[in-house]
């Protein structure tokens, strides 16, 4: 290519890009405008939780709610901290959350791999059946499962909090979708090289699906933090009680009505670690798949 041609081409690009720049700027403006509006909408309940946590019970009950507390009661946080056994609740929840997340990830990865990469008889039927289990409201399972775990002798143990919900079809399906995006050629090449399934899974699939795995980790941890009905039924003793059970109804005024502001303060306290975990994991989600290899 001659020098002249080259400079001509560069000029063209510059011309195009200056026109593009204005469009780009306008686009960026709209992108930010949209995101910030949505962010405010999403932030509002969180703000409400924080201001409610420093209101008095009387102010919380007002007919015309106040947008900013008339008087800031930090004492709610002290009450929340002193009244509930936050330390034990936190450790129990952390233990259940971490163990069930790890086990659940292992099961999910293996199952999703089988569905995405392996060929076996009855695969489609099996997958369809799996999806079908999601279509029945889970509330109907409670009594049967309660009888089952009682017969297994699992009442008031960590097992009963962890094992029944290890398998989530939602996550298997999600990960399978992600695995399906990884080109089959990689797998076949690995087979030719004599790489074992597990090694391939560990070295190729898992790194490539890391953002999804992190998402699953977050969701599973959230699950431990928010689960309420089942833990209350099967392990509500002091030694195994989880955080939501320990906090709901733990704070009442003299006549036995829930003291919502103190409850909000307690929730704010226990949400903090969760929030930090997210901020930490966010980096990994956003790092994404730097190496090539993913088709789409």
């Amino acid at each position: 290519m001659s020098n002249i041609n080259k400079t001509m081409a560069e000029k063209d690009i510059r011309l195009v890009s200056s026109k593009q720049k204005f469009g780009h700027f306008l686009g960026q403006f709209f992108v930010y405008f949209f995101l910030i509006v949505m962010a405010i909408i999403v932030l509002f309940p969180f703000y409400w939780m924080l201001i409610s946590s420093v209101k008095s019970l009387d102010e919380y009950r007002l007919a015309v709610p106040t947008l900013f507390p008339r008087e800031i009661l930090w004492g709610n946080y002290v009450t929340a901290f002193n009244q509930a056994n936050l330390g034990t609740l936190f450790l129990n929840t952390l233990y259940v959350g971490v163990v069930s997340t790890i086990l659940s990830l292992v099961i999910t990865v293996l199952s999703a791999f089988a569905f995405a990469r392996l060929e076996f008889k009855g695969k489609n039927t099996m997958f369809a059946a799996l999806l079908a289990t999601m279509m029945i409201p889970g509330e109907l399972f409670t009594i049967t499962n309660y009888v089952t775990v009682n017969q297994l002798g699992w009442m008031k143990t960590y097992t009963v909090l962890i094992v029944p919900f290890l398998v989530s079809v939602f996550y298997i399906y999600l990960l399978r979708q992600n695995f399906m995006q990884i080109p089959n050629e990689l797998y076949l090449a690995a087979k030719v090289d004599g790489t074992s399934d597990l090694k391939y899974l560990w070295k190729v699939m898992i790194p490539l699906a890391l953002p999804t795995l992190i998402s699953i980790t977050i969701l599973k941890m959230m699950g431990a933090w928010n689960s309420y009905v089942w833990p209350r039924l099967v392990a509500n003793d002091a030694a195994h009680q989880l955080i939501t059970n320990g906090l709901r109804n733990a704070f009442t005024d003299a006549s036995g009505q829930a003291d919502i502001p103190v409850q909000m303060a307690a929730v704010a306290i226990v949400s903090l670690p969760l929030f930090l975990v997210f901020v930490f994991l966010r980096k990994y989600i956003m790092k994404g798949v730097s190496r090539g290899g993913l088709k789409g």
Binding site: D58, R61, L62, A63, Q83, N124, T125, A128, A129, A132, T142, I143, Y146, V147, N150, M155, R232, L233, N236, D237, R248, N249, A250, F251, T252, D253, A254, S255, G256, Q257, A258
Partner: protein, 475 residues
């Protein structure tokens, strides 16, 4: 996709085979009311009793203190108690636990909870226990009759005690623990200033509302917290039918009830009255708003246990107005009827009769011990269930301190105790809570719906729908 359907068909088929065997096991524990003679209570054998309740931290403290006192009498009875959550949580927990026989020994209950447990034949009726003349020697050397003496039964406020027998089979299932009712809170400062008298009948109330509206057109004179209580109390005051524990359950669709609902609709439309659901906020908050605010109330009918919520916030260190408390308006002021609410205790059947006996001794201790009743009432804002608490020095001085400001809980308790003969209870059966919900919703609909010109037709339709819903949900 065919596979999907094939799988589903296969599943249905295999279930049909399954369904051949009938559900239901029937692991029912023995009933102490059906044994010939009550076994003796063995004070040497250790028994552990579990107790589910809804007590907050301050009440648990009181309970713990009296468990220690109880153990001085019965060191062999170990009490494990647990705050399960709210009343509904206690019910749901026990309902599930009954399926595997894991229910507690004692629980906080409302009558409709017990009606539910009774479907599974899980609660112990108390008649044999109450009637027993057997004696036990306690650890301090004194003796105690297992049953209740006549003096003890007479000491209970009758309306509270009778609630335990409202199940249609004439058996006693529950013992009252602590109770509340509805009272009328009024703005005493405003009433004094304008020379108004708190109403004792609904007619007086209507005239009073008109007068208050003249003084302050921008107000809603009365806020009634609970629509369901309003309806049920009116049935009781009028003597009209509400529900029955036996035969046809849902009897509330009748002309008398149509008539009073129609009258209240008129009041609502005129702006005399509102309720919690219709106003969209707590009625106590309308009552505690400043007089200058639009939409404030001068009267409020709500739970006697929530007196502190009916007191305005202090402004510059003083309450902006003084609160007065009195009995709610009546049809006949000489034959007053007020609702009774608040927890009772029920005992569950167990394979070991010693557990049931121990549970009974503890329930009896909590419900008949003056000191416990006094302290529990002061801590909770509820009222004691036995009259002799009034003679207790500490409680008497608590009542003495009653005023419309700092000691508003004492004032509310005082009013409750003065109307002790007025408490009524409603029948309890499988579906009584549905009836309660439905009449509350019915009130909301009848008061606020657009009648399109024909109020009677609208009311008739709403009543008919409510009965149909009750019968569907309960049948």
């Amino acid at each position: 996709m065919k596979k999907f359907l094939a799988l589903f068909a296969a599943l249905v088929l295999c279930i049909c085979c399954f369904a051949g065997c009938n559900g239901g096991g029937g692991n029912v524990a023995p009933d102490l009311d059906e044994v010939d003679e009550l076994p003796a209570f063995d004070t040497s054998k250790e028994v552990t009793i579990t107790f589910y309740h809804t007590m907050g931290a301050n009440l648990r403290e009181v309970l713990d203190f009296y468990i220690v006192e109880f153990n001085k009498l019965y060191p062999n009875i170990k009490i494990q108690h647990e705050q399960v959550g709210g009343y509904d949580d206690v019910r749901d927990q026990i309902k599930t636990e009954i399926t595997v026989g894991g229910q507690p020994n004692i629980a906080y209950c409302y009558p409709d909870h017990v009606a539910l447990y009774n479907l599974a034949k899980a609660t112990q009726s108390l008649d044999t226990l109450i009637g027993s003349t057997q004696t036990v020697t306690r650890a301090d050397g004194s003796t105690e009759t297992i049953g209740l003496t006549e003096a003890q039964i007479a000491d209970f406020i009758q309306g509270y005690y009778n609630e335990g027998r409202e199940f249609g089979d004439d058996k006693m299932y529950t013992m009252p623990l602590s109770k509340s009712t509805e009272v009328l809170y009024y703005n005493k400062t405003f009433f004094d200033k304008h020379n108004l008298t708190p109403p004792s009948t609904w007619d007086e109330l209507e005239a009073l509302c008109a007068e208050i509206k003249k003084i302050d057109p921008d107000c809603i004179p009365l806020g009634y917290d609970s629509e369901a209580n309003w309806f049920i109390t009116m049935c009781e005051q009028l003597g009209s039918d509400y529900t029955s524990a036996t035969g046809d359950h849902f009897l509330f669709d009748n002309a008398e009830n149509h008539a009073f609902v129609k009258k209240f609709r008129d009041w609502y439309q005129k702006g005399y009255v509102t309720t919690q659901e219709l106003s969209g906020g707590y009625t106590s908050e309308l009552f505690t708003m400043a007089e200058t605010d639009k939409g404030n109330s001068y009267m409020s009918i709500g739970s006697s246990a929530g007196a502190t919520h009916q007191r305005p916030d202090k402004v510059d260190g003083a309450y902006p107005f003084d609160v007065g408390i009195t009995t709610i308006p009546q049809m006949d002021a000489n034959n007053a009827k007020v609702i009774s609410q608040g927890p009772s205790l029920c005992i569950f059947k167990k394979a070991d009769p010693q557990e049931v006996l121990a549970s009974w001794l503890f329930v009896k201790y909590l419900t008949t011990t003056v000191e416990f009743q006094a302290e529990f009432s002061m801590a909770s804002g509820y009222v004691p269930v036995i009259k002799s608490v009034g003679d207790n020095a500490v409680y008497a001085s608590f009542l003495e301190s009653a005023d419309g400001g700092d000691a508003i809980s004492a004032l509310s308790a005082k009013v409750c105790l003065q109307q002790e003969s007025a408490y009524y209870t409603s029948p309890a059966f499988n579906g009584s809570s549905v009836a309660r919900d439905q009449v509350g919703l019915l009130m909301q609909a009848c008061l606020s719906s657009d009648a399109a010109g024909d109020v009677d037709a609208m009311i008739a339709k709403v009543f008919a729908d409510a009965v149909a819903e009750c019968e569907y949900q309960a049948g």
